[in-house]
């Protein structure tokens, strides 16, 4: 009973939401990192996104890298939450399903 109470206190979300957050953060990290690199090398394709102002490339690149880093942190936190969730889920008894 004790660990059950402890589980409610520690994990912020259930197994589904922590998995979603892990996947979203993984995608966010990779994609924002790449987007940051593309902004950094001043790719012409992204000119439309900057409202045709060429001076904004560097600030866009920096903010993408920062956002990517933030997603990395969020990803690690939610991965830790996911591990906790899996551990607690493994301890819970399985209920019988009757197959009709």
């Amino acid at each position: 009973k004790q660990w059950y109470q402890r589980r409610v206190a520690i994990t912020a979300g259930g197994p589904k939401s922590s998995t979603c957050l892990v996947l979203l953060s993984a995608w966010g990290t990779v994609m924002l990192l790449l987007l940051g690199i593309f902004f950094h090398i001043k790719s012409v394709i992204l000119l439309e996104d900057l409202d045709y102002d060429q001076n904004l490339y560097d600030s866009a690149a920096t903010s993408c890298f920062i956002a990517g880093g933030a997603y990395l942190v969020i990803g690690l936190i939610s991965f830790w939450q996911k591990i906790l969730n899996d551990r607690y889920q493994a301890l819970e008894p399985e209920t019988t399903t009757i197959m009709f």
Binding site: L24, W27, G28, M31, L32, S43, V44, I45, L46, L47, E48, D49, L50, D51, Y52, Q54, L56, S59, A60, T62, S63, C64, I66, A67, A70, Y71, P93, E94, T96, T97, I98, M99, F100
Partner: protein, 742 residues
């Protein structure tokens, strides 16, 4: 410990079908369990009833106190002469009699009314709600009840009141007026209540333990019963011969005749029977069921084809081609490297984890189960979508410049918004000083188009022409498959009267269209006005034989070539419609091979007899319908393939709008870097789920559906009959999964 034991029991394997003795034992066990359960339930109900009665009595005793105080007040008033009484009472005891008990709260108004009428106003009802919820012992639902007390005078009234109470389902309880006696009864009742609570707990535990033992076995019992039932059901299909043997006829794949023989021998020895089970092949003219061997990869595609119609016996199975053509067409309609990659990863995850998922398959809901069964389809779809995305050069609405663009704008100042630069390909040369390098982008569409205003004008034309070409290829392939079907059947009549005219017709019209597309792509026309391919095609029929004029023709003497093709196509129509019926009429024996080798349900070969119903008119009508279907289908199906363009356009536009409206926000506003970074974090968290839900799931389903339609209709109506019956052998697995109704 308990749940751990339960867990072990479940992971044990599926039990085998029980034999006679085990079945009898099982029946006895189940009967005994039933008797015990009924008994326990009955006991519990009786105990509960007792328990609630005691509780009600306790409440009555409690509220009696309050009632009596009121009653005493009434008596005092009587003695004070405020109340009048009837002369009937005379000098007998003026003390009011009473009855107390418990009644459903809902019935109180009725009770009051009936009492008032029956006693002519001389009975007094007082009631108090019972706050503790009391349950009906049989149904365990809560019924709100109230205690009541009725004051009256005289024996007659007492009888009437009792009858009313009975009628309304109110239970009366004996209650003494004196406080001390009530107190004593209350103490006794309390004691009995506590005793009963203990007994009820015991009963509850006993029932729980008994059911717990059942839980361990119930799944295996259900499986055993289902298996035995299936076995007996199948055995009922056997016939009993005169010599006391059981005989049955069925279908067996020829490749597995040996295996069946071995299994029969095994069964005979394990059943300990003296006589051998014999397997004989029997010749029949019945059409066998269709059996396609499939493995985990092909099963999904086979299911997609079978959903439209199971292949006729020994017809070419289109599923084998679908394994590649379906994902390919899906990719053409989906066409984004990023979305395709995500879909590919999803499919890959399902495939890599398939052994874990197979075990949990029963607990899946229908949609998840369907997604799991289609895991290879999803993975291949994603893969081909990535390939198409590379060709369209589209990743999340942006283009990748991998090889270096072949275009360069001729400007000296930085690019500004609102100014248009036209890049002219006519004078080409080395890049910085020319607009176009002269060498096209090696693989896919040049990334410069992503920034071009007239992007859609170019891309639409390209995708539409691509759609027509792909459609022609698939339709021609379909017609070729029909040739192989005819050849297998040995029906040369069909080859000459159906396949050849169909092929010529298709190629003369749609094949010529594809030729013009390629021709226009490969030639550079120096005229200012480019000839329109569609106008050429239309004038092929509507302006038959007339020269097209220099501005409208792709090559010299185009009108002669087109007229010749039109004539050839038109000749094919009566060829398709009339040749086969007339030849069949003149040479009836030729007819046999063109119909199926097997007739349904006829035992001997009736060559002339059972084709009686195929009279001349029937054949002509049938042939006319097929001809019209094919000729009109050539045009309409080709146009139908344009959905390849339409869906990819929709996908590209949706993707672009999503990026422009959502993901562009942090970069296009003039925020400082910290604000930009925070906004990027939030905007991505909005953009990503929207991408998944709208662009991957919704568009994915849409592209899946349309690719499937293209296969079912436009591809398969060139060759597929699909009139077969699936081969469904006896299988415990299918029965236990509930796929078969027995």
């Amino acid at each position: 410990k308990q749940w751990y034991q339960r867990r072990v029991a479940i992971t044990a394997g599926i039990p085998g079908a029980p034999n006679q003795k085990d079945l009898i034992d099982l029946e006895a066990t189940l009967e005994q369990l039933e008797v015990e359960t009924r008994q326990i339930n009955g006991n519990q109900e009786a105990l509960l009833r007792n328990f609630y009665e005691l509780k009600e009595l306790k409440h009555v005793l409690n509220s009696a106190g309050a009632f009596f105080q009121e009653g005493a007040a009434i008596e005092r008033e009587q003695q004070a002469g405020i109340l009048k009484y009837d002369e009937e009472l005379g000098g007998t005891a003026r003390h009011l009699s009473f009855l107390c008990g418990v009644i459903n709260r809902a019935k109180i108004p009725v009770f009051e009314r009936v009492l008032w009428r029956a006693s002519r106003g001389k009975a007094l009802l007082r009631h108090m709600e019972i706050t503790e919820p009391l349950k009906d012992p049989a149904t365990e639902e809560e019924i709100p009840k109230s205690t009541f007390i009725v004051y009256f005078q005289g024996e007659q009234l007492k009888i009437r009141v009792k009858k009313i109470c009975e009628g309304l389902g109110a239970t009366t309880y004996p209650c003494k007026e004196a406080y001390s006696e009530r107190k004593q009864t209350e103490m006794e009742v309390d004691k009995r209540i506590t005793e009963l609570i203990d007994i009820l707990k015991e009963t509850h535990n006993h029932r729980y333990r008994m059911l717990d033992t059942v839980v361990q076995n119930i799944n295996s019992w259900i499986i055993q019963v289902k298996k035995v039932k299936a076995i007996y059901y199948t055995m009922n299909k056997f016939k009993k011969t005169d010599t006391g043997l059981l005989m049955a006829e069925g279908w067996v794949p020829m490749s597995q005749l040996n295996d069946v023989d071995i299994a029969l021998k095994r069964g005979t020895t394990s059943a300990g029977s003296a006589t051998q089970a014999i397997l004989n092949t029997v010749t029949t003219r019945r059409t066998p069921p269709t059996y396609h061997k499939s493995n985990k990869l092909t099963k999904g595609f086979q299911a997609m084809i079978d959903a439209y119609g199971v292949a006729t016996y020994q017809e070419i199975n289109p599923a084998i081609f679908t394994i590649i053509t379906f994902p390919f067409l899906f990719g053409v309609m989906f066409g984004d490297l990023g979305h395709g990659f995500i879909m590919f990863l999803a499919g890959l995850y399902l495939v890599l984890k398939e052994s874990t998922f197979i075990k949990k398959l029963k607990s899946f809901d229908e949609i998840s189960a369907m997604m799991f069964h289609g895991r290879y389809i999803i993975m291949l779809n994603g893969l081909f979508a990535m390939y198409a995305g590379l060709l369209y050069n589209d990743i999340f609405a942006k283009s990748l410049n991998i090889f270096g663009s072949s275009w360069y704008p001729d400007i000296s100042e930085p690019i500004n918004k609102g100014i248009q630069y036209g890049l002219d390909p006519k004078e080409y040369g080395p890049l910085p000083s020319h607009n176009f390098s002269g060498h096209p982008y090696p693989f896919g569409i040049d990334p410069v188009w992503n920034l071009a205003e007239n992007k859609l004008t170019f891309i639409n034309s390209y995708k539409m022409k691509l759609a027509v070409i792909l459609g022609l290829i698939q339709m021609t392939f379909g017609v070729v498959i029909s040739y192989f079907n005819y050849r297998f059947k040995g029906s040369t009549l069909d080859v000459y009267c159906t396949f050849i005219p169909q092929m010529i017709f298709l190629q003369c019209i749609v094949g010529y269209l594809a030729f013009m597309i390629f021709f226009k792509w490969f030639t550079v026309n120096t005229h200012t006005a480019q000839p329109s391919i569609l106008l050429c095609l239309i004038s092929m029929f509507l302006k038959f034989g007339a020269p097209l004029g220099e501005d409208n023709e792709l090559y010299a003497n185009q009108h002669i070539v087109q007229s010749a093709l039109a004539v050839m196509a038109l000749i094919c129509v009566p060829w398709m419609m009339l040749a086969k019926p007339f030849i069949e009429r003149m040479y009836p024996r030729v007819r046999q091979a063109s119909y199926t080798q097997f007739d349904n349900e006829s035992e001997d070969g009736g060559e002339s007899d059972d084709h009686e119903e195929h009279s001349m008119t029937d054949i002509m009508v049938h042939q006319a319908i097929e001809t019209i279907e094919f000729t009109l289908g050539c045009i309409s199906n080709t146009a139908s393939y344009l959905r390849l363009w339409a869906l990819s356009l929709a996908h590209a536009e949706l993707s672009e709008v999503l990026w422009d409206m959502v993901m562009r926000m942090p970069f296009s506003m003039g925020l400082p870097v910290p604000g930009k970074a925070v906004m990027t974090i939030f905007v991505f968290a909005i953009w990503a789920p929207l991408t998944v839900v709208i662009l991957i799931v919704m568009e994915g389903l849409s592209a899946f559906l349309h690719a499937l339609r293209l296969h079912w209709v436009e591809f398969q109506n060139k060759f597929y009959k699909g009139e077969g019956v699936a081969f469904l052998p006896f299988s415990f697995e299918r029965i236990l999964n509930g796929d078969v109704d027995d």
